[in-house]
């Protein structure tokens, strides 16, 4: 399985160059428990049909579309042959709690249908699909740990079984004070915010970051999906630095 493209949005900023600079400046290859800068999420792609998208959706869209662009794949030609697998620990929980705010604040009949439809975990992949035109199989999966590793394993199976030629596989989570509270006893690592996507394939594309399995996460098995995906990306970026 080849890695053909990478897209990252995290507390360091958006894009490989920004993350590379942060790592080269000695910052840890960790997704920190802080929020992504709001300005990054105001990209013009969200000005029309995606204007109602939530924070979680936007993290997914930016990372996924950046990975696609980085790969150089002609998505107009390949749109039926690209699949998507998004791994998440908590999904768009901020929107879920906003919808609960609605239920608690208004009459049951007066709650927002828009908040409800954006509170489902797969809304983000729906936006990625609609904005990129991707028509292949799309999947959102969740576990509190190992979800990204499982997503990557499934992506490899899809490619070997020729279900698709390319898979956009990644992890997304958002940070909030309520999730910090909920998980305060759960992990020594703080739960962070961001989106990391890879384009993987068996194709010999113009760009191949790695010709083997993606680097395994350096973390223990109990690592949340976003941190695992970020660790994979950071390892590739650091390897690029050594090679150059």
């Amino acid at each position: 399985m080849n890695i053909n493209g990478i897209g990252i949005v995290c507390n360091y900023g958006r894009g490989l160059a920004v993350v590379k600079a942060a790592l080269e400046a000695g910052r840890a290859p960790d997704i920190l428990a802080s929020r992504v800068n709001n300005d990054i999420l105001k990209d013009k792609i969200f000005s029309h049909e995606a204007r109602r998208s939530g924070r979680f959706d936007r993290l997914a869209v930016l990372a996924a579309l950046d990975a696609l662009a980085d790969s150089g794949i002609n998505r107009e030609v390949e749109k039926n042959d690209i699949g998507i697998i998004l791994a998440t620990a908590f999904g768009p929980h901020v929107t879920t709690f906003r919808f609960l705010d609605d239920i608690l604040s208004f009459k049951e009949s007066d709650v927002s249908p828009i908040l409800f439809s954006h509170s489902v975990h797969n809304a983000a992949v729906s936006y990625v699909s609609a904005l990129s035109g991707i028509r292949g199989p799309t999947l959102t999966v969740t576990r509190f740990s190992r979800a990204f590793e499982e997503a990557l394993t499934l992506a490899q199976a899809w490619l070997e079984q020729k279900r698709t030629r390319y898979v956009l596989v990644g992890a997304v989570d958002e940070h909030s004070s309520i999730m910090e509270y909920i998980t305060r006893f759960e992990s020594a690592n703080a739960f962070g915010e961001g989106g990391v996507f890879f384009v993987v394939s068996r194709e010999k594309c113009a760009k191949i970051y790695s010709q083997a399995q993606p680097p395994a996460s350096p973390y223990a098995e109990e690592t949340e999906p976003l941190q695992s995906a970020f660790s994979c990306a950071a390892a590739i970026i650091l390897k690029m630095r050594q090679e150059t």
Partner: protein, 388 residues
């Protein structure tokens, strides 16, 4: 030639019955029971299909308890009442409600005081259903919870099929589970797709869905492994296909092209022509948009005489459990040689142009199709086969 994947056991619980036999009996008699919700207080008047007299052990989510109940039945049928210890096993389950901390009283307490009881948090953090199954059944292999909205249960079967055919495991607990919860109850009402009457899938005057709940669990297994254990089931999952609409967050693509891509992919994997499909268990939610897109696609691809039903008139829409429950009902149709009436239907919708089966109907054939459509534009198709 892909590895054949046999259904070595099935377990189901829903409003129509607490096991496969009870559900079969309700189907045969045309019984259904949409009633006002009793699981939470509400001023809304959308009927639901609850699993009655189901006792949920304290400290675990109802969704998980439903899934465990169906898994016990499926494992018994598979000849594995002692569980999966020592086997190269995996677990893949779909859900919607169990992936969210939809606990209003907990959230109210947290908002008011900045802290809240730990019990609901523990139930949530221990309630990821694939992780909970992996712990309970000591499953060493892959484990994933699929959160693809209403197609989650069908997509979980597809993931399991991929794992088995990739040789990642010999046996997988696959399916879906969901409970009726106040949050989606309000949400579907707000979207204007919940009906105030018992639902009428594919009917001209249909006006929305009824929420349901339950769990459908299939034990999927490499044929070789099942036979070595002495399991003789003749039911198989022979094909799975999925495709995205790339269209709208909540409405299906009107031309049904995403569903068509999914169905063609599933047929290709199974090596089956559309004429070989004995019947279709449709998603058939009874919403205006879903049934129109799905029904018109059936007519276009399978012809005017296609035999199809929606079983949601018996179960309501069980969200993440729906695709798995309906795959089980599809397998039962092939095994028993009959399928139930599309309960709730009485008048053909000229915009669809074809009608579902209005009475319990004898079925012959080796293959049947189950379709699932979801929020977000996911489409999934599962081909069930009975080898003669």
């Amino acid at each position: 030639m892909p590895t054949p994947v046999v259904i070595s056991g099935m377990g189901a619980i829903c409003a129509a019955g607490k096991n496969v036999e009870e559900i079969k009996s309700a189907f045969a008699q045309g019984q259904r029971s949409a009633q006002p919700p009793t699981l939470f207080p509400t001023a809304l008047d959308y009927p639901v299909f609850e699993v009655k007299a189901f006792s949920c052990p304290p400290g675990i989510m109802r969704t998980l308890a439903l899934a465990f109940a169906a898994a016990d039945e499926a494992l018994r049928e598979a000849g594995l009442p002692q569980g999966l210890r020592g086997l190269r096993a995996g677990v893949c389950l779909g859900t919607t409600v169990a992936s969210q901390l939809n606990n209003e009283s907990w959230y109210t307490e947290y908002k008011n005081s900045g802290s809240a009881a730990q019990g609901p948090v523990d139930a949530y953090l221990q309630g990821n259903i694939a992780e909970a199954f992996a712990r309970k059944f000591a499953i060493p292999g892959p484990a994933l919870t699929v959160v693809n909205a209403c197609s989650s249960g069908a997509d979980a079967l597809g993931v399991a099929l991929s794992w088995l055919q990739a040789g990642l495991c010999d046996i997988v607990i696959a399916g879906g589970a969901d409970e009726i919860n106040h949050v989606p109850y309000c949400g579907f009402g707000a979207l204007g797709v919940a009906s105030r009457q018992p639902c009428r899938p594919f009917d001209r005057d249909r006006n929305g869905l009824n929420l349901g709940e339950g769990a459908g669990i299939l034990i999927l297994e490499q044929e070789r492994h099942a036979r070595e254990r002495g399991n003789r089931s003749r039911l198989y999952v022979s094909g799975y296909g999925a495709a995205a609409d790339a269209y709208h967050l909540t409405a299906p693509r009107p031309d049904g092209s995403g569903l068509e891509m999914a169905v063609r992919s599933a047929l290709a994997q199974a090596g089956v022509q559309e004429a070989e499909i004995a019947f279709i268990n449709a998603h058939g939610t009874a919403t205006r948009d879903n049934d129109k897109a799905e029904g018109r696609f059936f007519a276009r691809m399978f012809g005017p005489d296609v035999r199809f039903i929606s079983t949601k008139g018996f179960t309501g829409h069980a969200l993440g459990a729906a695709g798995a429950l309906e795959a089980i009902f599809t397998a039962l149709g092939l095994k028993e040689g009959w399928i139930p009436a599309n309960i709730g239907f009485s008048r053909i919708d000229e915009e669809i142009g074809i009608a579902p089966l209005e009475a319990k109907t004898k079925i012959t054939g080796a293959y049947a199709l189950s379709t699932s459509l979801a929020f977000g534009g996911n489409n999934a198709a599962v081909i069930i086969e009975q080898k003669l």
